[in-house]
Amino acid sequence: MNKKVLVLGAAGLIAPNITAYLDPHYDLTLVDIKPHPHGRPIGRVDVTSYEQVREAARGMDAIMNYTVNRPDPVLSFKVNTLGAWHVLKAAAELGIKKILHSGPQTVRPGYEYDFDVDDPPPIVGSGYYGITKYLGREICQVYARAYQIQTISFVFNGLESNPTLPVAGDFPTFTVTWEDLAHACRLALEVESVPNYFQEFNLHSYLGHQKYLLDKARRLLGFKPQREWTAFHRRPT
């Protein structure tokens, strides 16, 4: 029997592009506050309402939280921080032991001019997007430790379709393809355990830069980009 997975933010920028990959393997329940862009049936759940999150999570084996608000001074806190708390609180209350969370690359701006960046502490600054996601991450960490909730957070920036033709230009840094993100989500949903119950992973699809390393995701999840994307960004010589 497939695992039951609640997808919060299912009509947002990320989830609609990976659910097709996950559908064959999981019993997905899609919820959001707006209609699904592809017209799929979707439940209405506002992550800022604890009662709604808890009721949607009842009976689930895992929760994927892809809700986000970036610039709003009030909603960024309500969605990214309070919402994260609601998700973890519901998981603790209902005995759900698997959470997939996401953090933006904005937890890494302090390393923007570094290389070999593997698993450093977040440096976020006081901007709404970064700090509210960071506080949500901290809540995840606290709950993961206290209730043994295996919580996996992916850090990435851009998202792209899989290239099909040669591209005359560099691959954008810290960008993951839909296919690779879906693959990483599968690995995260299936992994038996991670150290300390909470782990954050760099995630992207292009190994050429040697900037943000994927070593930890490879080591703990067995992740590697599904295709050799560098082949599409070759300069003709």
Binding site: Y50, P73, V74, F77, T81, L82, W85, L88, K89, A92, G110, I123, V124, G125, S126, G130, I131, T132, Y134, L135, E138, I139, V142, Y143, R145, A146, Y147
Partner: protein, 250 residues
Amino acid sequence: MRVLITGAASRLGQAIASRLRERHQLRLLDSTPVEPGPNATFVQASLTDPQALWQALRNIDAVVHTGQPPAELPADELARDQLLLDLATRGTHVLFLAAVEAGVKRLVYTGTLEVLADYPDDVYLSEMWKPLPPPTMPVLSRYLGELTCREFARDYLVSITALRLGRLVLEEEVAGQPGDLMWLDLRDAAQAVECALQRDASQRVWWTQRWGLYHVAAPIANPKFLYSQATHLGYKPEHRFASHWGGEAP
């Protein structure tokens, strides 16, 4: 200095105001009315009201953000926790953003040593130990407030001093009770805040120097919570809880 104190209706806010009012002009801020007393004015406002805070911060030199919960909390636990989380995160952000926009250079936050309560009693806990806050909101929210403050020290040329205070009591009121390694007398907490207000690292280039984190504990014999860093601020606690712990302070 002209000092704004948040959470002014709280016991800690009152203790700080009592300590500071002789040498500083105070502006007390709370969502609950407070009698300002000598050398002070009062502003009734919520921490999540940017406009009110911007007004309250005009002509202020320093902010003491006590992070204390409001006097009246919802009876419902979920509503209470949501409010505490909102005040600690968004409220702290609104306050500090308004403060830096108003040109305030010194900010003091009073967090809590409770974020280290999970460690066993047979260790010496300095600021070098990783916080392990529990998922209970009264403590978790204080930790998140501390993290919010820290990010402002990264971004702005302001001096931010976070004091992790012990469990606040008056020494005389706990006489006869079993000793608590985390006890801190309110008057010593207020003294630590006054010391922290003297710290100005706002022009330091490295953010790690603009940010300061200090444990504030009682000078008991054989302490679990070490406060030696705070002595560099000038902190000299007086309340030793000698009837509980005996001996001389280290």
